[in-house]
């Protein structure tokens, strides 16, 4: 499935990768604020991390709850390597630090992966969870290495400038991240087209059968795990360069692992480019959404819930399904429905979000008085009218949305049926 993303021949491939490179270069020129640059930098390394996670989840069918172990260990080793280089104990330009992180991630993946990849499915998931907790607990026992509560700090501007880059200004750090992001993404895409990459898919689909065509499934999973660990380590090291600090409570936590899982899934694990969308969303959610509302984690949870229920292939699969409809020239029939879904969905969201915000306001901001502003509307947590109004809006929205969704599902089914029939007719011809 992953290989169906760019099936448009060598020209299409050049266009897609060219666009990706241009985007990496143009984005910081379009969004010039320091906040935007910070966010773009974070997106850059999170793309690498989410893609590396998807080698496990999407390609290998391995639900890991401990990916932060490998990004985190990559980050810690990178920070210590930078500090050693600052002291002059080792020679290491900043531009190569991500590779040190990658090797560290790979090493720990080789170490822990030997145990975790012995099993697949639920057992695998449980072992990764266990190892994640183990490493997080260890980090508290070795404050000299992990820096205890405060973490380990570093300074990325050591050493002689590399091609005029001191890595002091954020834009230079962005350039480093963008370069690694592009190369890592290209390498991970290339990996999907290799014998090991394909056998990883086969192990995901049917491990038992793989054993009977000559492959040791455990070895296939193990090698895939190590490769994922390498790229995770690169991502972790880039994060360390970006922030100049790494703390165990944050970098190695299971919450962090959960975040990678959540957003990789949200972006779409069944397509190669899905996790890229996920990484972008992760930054938008944690930086922008958290600015807008205190209840951002709750909204995130709701979105995740809805995605799992209605679009388990993530955003990438939504895009690909609609592209398929568009290719068959039937998208026009659905556009009206999309508009209706958007309107009723917005109404529902408006009602429910107003309720959530009022409850949050009551709990957290009582001191500021009973009035809050929600999307330009004054709501009063002490007024029955405000409560009744939002509840009514939410219920009406929900009802209309459900009605629309059911009809839309029928239309969608019809269109899909026609496309399938057309494909079958073509095959039979």
């Amino acid at each position: 499935m992953a290989n169906s993303v760019v099936k448009s021949g060598p020209l299409g491939r050049v266009v897609v990768w060219g666009l990706f490179a241009v985007l990496l270069i143009v984005l910081p020129l379009l969004f010039r604020s320091s906040l935007a640059l910070t966010m773009l930098s974070q997106m850059g390394y999170l793309v690498i991390i989410c893609l590396s996670y998807n080698i496990l989840l999407g390609q290998g069918g391995m639900l890991s709850f401990g990916h932060a172990v490998y990004t985190g260990m990559g980050a810690f080793i990178a920070v210590h390597a930078m500090n050693q280089a600052t002291k002059g104990a080792i020679w290491l330009p900043v531009s190569l630090v991500p590779l040190v992180g990658g090797v560290a991630g790979m090493f720990f993946a080789a170490l822990f992966g030997y145990v975790t990849t012995k099993k697949s499915g639920t057992t695998f998931a449980m072992i990764t969870l266990g190892i994640g907790e183990l490493v997080a607990a260890m980090s508290l026992m070795f404050p000299a290495f992990f820096g205890g509560e405060g973490g380990v700090t570093t300074n990325r501007t050591y050493g002689a400038p590399f091609l005029g880059l001191t890595f002091g200004p954020q834009i230079q750090v962005y350039c480093l991240i963008a370069a690694y992001c592009f190369v890592s993404t290209a390498l991970m895409y290339a990996f999907t087209g290799t014998p090991l990459g394909r056998m990883l898919n086969a192990v995901r689909d049917n491990p038992e059968r793989v054993e009977f065509i000559g492959y040791n499934t455990q070895w296939v999973r193990y090698l895939g795990f190590i490769i994922a660990g390498f790229f995770a380590g690169i991502g972790g090291a880039l994060a360390a360069i970006n922030f100049e600090i790494v703390g165990a409570a944050d970098s190695l936590s299971s919450v962090r692992s959960g975040g990678y899982l959540l957003f990789t899934f949200l972006g779409g694990a069944t397509f190669f480019f899905g996790p890229i969308i996920g990484a972008v969303l992760l930054v938008l959610a944690s930086v922008l959404l958290s600015e807008i509302t205190k209840a951002w984690l709750l909204y995130l949870g709701l979105v995740f819930l809805l995605m799992v229920m209605y679009a388990p292939g993530g955003i990438a699969s939504l895009i690909m399904m609609n592209l398929r409809v568009a290719k068959s020239g039937k998208l026009a029939r659905l556009l009206g429905w999309y508009a209706l879904l958007a309107v009723t969905g917005a109404l529902t969201f408006f009602g429910i979000a107003a309720l959530i915000e009022m409850i949050y306001h009551m709990q957290l901001n009582e001191a500021l008085g009973p009035v809050l502003s929600f999307l330009g509307i004054e709501l009063n947590v002490k007024s029955a009218a405000s409560w009744a109004g939002t509840v009514v809006v939410a219920l009406i929205g929900l009802g209309l949305f459900e009605l629309t969704r059911k009809r839309f599902a029928l239309r969608w089914g019809e269109v899909q049926g026609e496309i399938e029939a057309a494909i079958r007719a073509r095959e039979a011809a």
Partner: protein
């Protein structure tokens, strides 16, 4: 090896699950190039026998030899690398890969690509060519890029055979290859199996007596975990022990089926 080795040889093979002994001292010696059908009543241990030979289970005691080499206790992938392939009673394919990808997965190890992650599949001409040949052999050319899970049942069965023979194994075990197929599909399918296993040693578990007599040079009768007869079809049919142990009606059916051919 100086003496001529059998392709597959079972010596006093036993397998117990807990206190229940399923295979009770089975002996069988299949010469290279022979086509053998294993028949027997339900619960006789036919599938267990296949699972023992292919390494899915390891035997409680006894020996299994593949081309003269002991293979009992080895892992399925080790046995597969020694040239033994098997299919499954319940279709066992890679659902989310295309038909072509399924077949290519089947040829990779045999062509020596193993766990390579520094080569592109697209550039492996021998693997791609072999996969396309297989696609043609199992007559699924038109379904090349269809996901395996979207195939019809009969097509999936054909793909199952395709994956099984993909690695070029010289000993092929087919576990009820025609199970669940209609009469017309079955006869076409036997043709297919015959074509793709030319020159190979074939062991098949089969319930359909039409298939057995259409495909096999020799028949092994397994009853309660023992091989009570192993001979050419006519001799097996005439064997009084077989007639006694095995349902006469089934043999009558088989004769009728053969007369109909």
């Amino acid at each position: 090896m100086t003496t001529q080795a059998y392709a597959v040889e079972l010596k006093a093979l036993r397998k117990s699950f807990g206190k229940t002994e399923i295979i009770r001292g089975a002996d069988l010696a299949v010469a290279a190039g022979e086509r053998v059908a294993i028949i027997g009543p339900n619960g006789a241990g036919k599938s267990t026998l296949f699972n023992l030979i292919s390494g899915r289970f390891s035997p409680t005691s006894g020996e299994i030899l593949l081309n003269g080499q002991r293979i009992h206790g080895l892992k399925p992938y080790e046995i597969s690398r020694m040239g033994l392939a098997r299919s499954f009673q319940i279709t066992n394919i890679f659902g989310r890969l295309s038909v072509f990808e399924n077949l290519r997965c089947g040829v990779l190890w045999a062509l020596g690509y193993k766990y390579a992650f520094w080569k592109f599949l697209a550039g492996l001409d021998d693997a791609n060519q072999r996969a396309d040949e297989l696609l043609h052999m199992i007559k699924l050319d038109r379904k090349r890029d269809t996901l395996a899970m979207n195939l019809t049942y009969a097509e999936q069965r054909a793909l199952e055979i395709g994956i099984t023979i993909a690695g070029g194994a010289n000993v092929v075990l087919l576990d009820e290859p025609t199970a669940g197929m209609s009469k017309s599909e079955t006869s076409r399918f036997i043709e297919l199996i015959r074509e793709v296993t030319v020159g190979k040693t074939l062991l098949t578990v089969e319930h359909d007596m039409g298939v057995v007599f259409g495909l096999a040079d020799k028949i092994a009768v397994l009853v309660y975990g023992e091989v009570i007869a192993f001979d050419v079809p006519e001799a097996v049919r005439a064997n009084p022990r077989v007639q006694e142990a095995y349902l006469g009606s089934v043999l009558a059916d088989a004769q009728a089926a053969e007369a109909g051919h």
